[in-house]
Symmetry: C2
Subunit: 429 residues, 2 copies
């Protein structure tokens, strides 16, 4: 049995104007890839009848599954449902259950039902309705058996999902992926693992693991890399009855070679990992940021439950703030400069004592574009992590644009916390 | 003359796995839209010969301009150049000038030239080379006169751009857009303005401006909205000899109706606007953040030159931090709670005096998912902006997911600073 061909069509004129970022494509592709399926094409088109109909018709000449997003709402440019129904030659019928649910939705919120709402109760003949507990527009699922756009009697499935991410995502997970797995099971079992690394470049990862994995690659392991600023993913995929065993072997091999750089797997995020480790160990954290300007605190507080371990932070952007808020000595600033190991140490010690934290992380550096000198060029960074008995220091060079500089520096700082926590209690990892 | 049809093809297997976000589509579309052109279709395909060739061939049956991104580098999956050259039946020739530049690039960096680098000097017969001062892979520009994928003698242009954003963006601006404007000038002049608003919902904007603009819409004004959490763009576009005048009229009308919500136009960002206003007025800012957890400081310090006006901040996540760092009274916390107007006022006053700033912004609220009560549900927020003579207060309700909550709250806080600065010196805006 050949692999399932899946194509994705996102609709929206605002996408064509570049006013919004298309995040659906990435999210859906990742869900599918982690389940062993892969998307063969992503298409985005404006909200016009001809563009949407042409894109869907073309996709159905190639694909087994076509997933559209957007255009199911009640406004005048939400016509995806109607145009696709016409393309398929399926009349739209008002669904009494959906209509009652729409009325209940507005009743619960004490709001009158806007006049065009009822459009969302229209269902193409023969389509199944995918419930939407997070909004008003249900999704639609149409089995094309056979697919009228091919002449080989092969069936196809067309899924229409609403545009808002908080409606689309649960609907995809709860109603689309299970149907896909049921109707088009993978021909053989598939196992996939993504090991997420930090503090090591893509070519270095490749150099270290490619050769040792050669034997497994020759027997079917698929190895891939994805590098983003500050992190590199190693993706391992295997198919067949021995897939899980092969992945376990490959993972063990990779962990043996670059394990200290692996902060998690699959959907792990470094900030979440750090908060979890602090919670497990019942330790608290404070931060004192200069060049990262609040990004480390922002990332830590993005994690629900961070308040249990994160006591607070300082954004000590000016020298005065370093002196007055953190107690950095004037002599230190004068002798070593604001961007120095000595200043980073005193910032960390100041934040730790002022907030009474177990650990305090301090960062000082030159983000650029201005402020660099010959001795301390743009990209110079000092990171200090202070604990009761010891202070750890990193001196990375991050000669990047301002946004990348801030993110990469925050990665290095969080990684220093993670490593320290793991190393202090290595047996529990 | 009909409108120019432009299609975009991004290539990359990592896009199909959902491991990276496709930001090229948005960026290129926005540049084109602001110049009066629009993209009719965006396609993303994996790095395989058949997928890329099929996508390019299909696009050339419809489009006047086809722009591809990615796959021009030196690694083994960078084969876009070769596959497209084959599709067009144009042999690849090594270009001596590019080869010399590549050698010079590595010589300047004191690095040996990796063996596959020379692939980047291959140029399809008849193609023009787009210089890449920011990397090694030049772009390629092929005029298809006529376009072999149509039989109407209409020409087409194919552009291949490198994948890294810092290489692609300047190349597009310096070498692609000018060629597009030269070869396919807009049939009539076009004027476009995007007015960026904050603190007002999409439907409210629509209700206020749609009717008053009716007359202009009937004579050709194109009006569009784009809503994202915390902001709504109003996009005005007109074509024809009177386009500039029509846009000026429309802008005046919109500013008259919702002017106080407009923080800037086109590429303006609220954080940049706030930093500019502070610089112009020679005022300094400090922040004291609880529920935004550092995001406001992060956004302000994303702006190059922020250090001239931003003195620093506190992330006072715990009650202890509010007491010890900011001098909030224990009695205030006890009587009113950490999430209260009284606490926000004392946080702002504390930050202002400790950092000696002209203005201090304080935010306290319940981000959720935990921590809400019947009296103060998740989404409750108090924002205070303290100056020498007065403290301004906002009490928004932001019942969103955690990330949206933080962003929307940071927008409201920055907007409070902007409004205050503008109102105190209204004549200068």
């Amino acid at each position: 049995m050949a692999a399932v061909i899946i194509e994705l069509i996102t609709t929206g004129s605002e996408l064509m104007l570049g006013r919004v970022l298309n995040s659906h494509q990435q999210w859906i592709c990742r869900q599918l890839a982690d389940a062993g399926y892969s998307v063969q094409r992503q298409v985005a088109v404006p909200d016009t009848a001809s563009a949407i109909q042409q894109a869907v018709a073309e996709a159905l000449t190639r694909a087994d599954w076509v997933i559209t997003t957007g255009g199911l709402g009640p406004t005048s440019d939400d016509l995806t449902r109607e145009w696709i129904a016409r393309l398929l030659g399926r009349p739209l019928r008002e669904d009494a259950v959906i209509l009652a649910e729409l009325a209940a939705f507005f009743a619960r919120r004490n709001r009158p039902m806007p006049p065009r709402t009822a459009l969302q109760a229209l269902v193409p003949e023969g389509a199944a309705v995918l419930p939407n507990p997070n909004g008003t527009a249900p999704g639609l699922f149409v089995a094309l058996e056979p697919n009228p756009f091919r002449n080989d009697n092969r069936p196809a499935w067309l899924v229409m999902l609403p545009g808002p991410p908080r409606e689309l995502r649960p609907m995809f997970a709860d109603h689309v992926l299970p149907r896909l797995k049921g109707l088009c099971p993978l021909p053989v079992p598939c196992a996939c693992r993504t090991l997420r690394t930090v503090g090591i470049g893509e070519s270095q990862v490749e150099q270290l693991i490619d050769e040792p994995l050669r034997g497994l690659i020759e027997t079917g392991l698929e190895l891939g890399y994805c590098a983003r600023p500050g992190e590199v993913d190693v993706r391992l995929l295997a198919r067949g009855t021995g897939a899980e065993r092969m992945i376990a072997q490959a993972e063990q091999c990779v962990r043996g070679l670059i394990g200290e750089h692996i902060f998690g797997q699959d959907d792990a995020e470094l900030d979440r990992v750090v908060v979890s480790l602090l919670r497990e160990r019942n330790r608290t954290l404070a931060v004192a940021e200069s060049c990262t300007g609040g990004l480390i605190a922002h990332r830590v507080t993005n994690v629900p439950g961070a308040s249990a371990v994160f006591l607070g932070g300082f954004v000590a952007y000016s020298n005065a703030a370093k002196l007055n808020l953190l107690g950095v000595q004037a002599a230190t600033l004068e002798r070593h400069g604001a961007v120095s190991e000595a200043t980073a140490r005193e910032m960390a010690a100041g934040a730790r004592s002022r907030l009474g934290a177990d650990y305090a992380l301090a960062v000082t550096g030159i983000a650029g574009p201005g402020g660099g000198t010959a001795e301390k060029p743009v990209g110079t960074v000092f990171i200090a992590l202070a604990a009761a008995e010891h202070t750890w220091i990193l001196r990375p060079k991050n000669p990047f644009d301002r946004a990348t500089f801030k993110f990469v520096t925050s990665q290095q700082a969080l990684e220093l916390v993670r490593r320290t926590l793991v190393t202090e209690n290595p047996q529990s990892i």
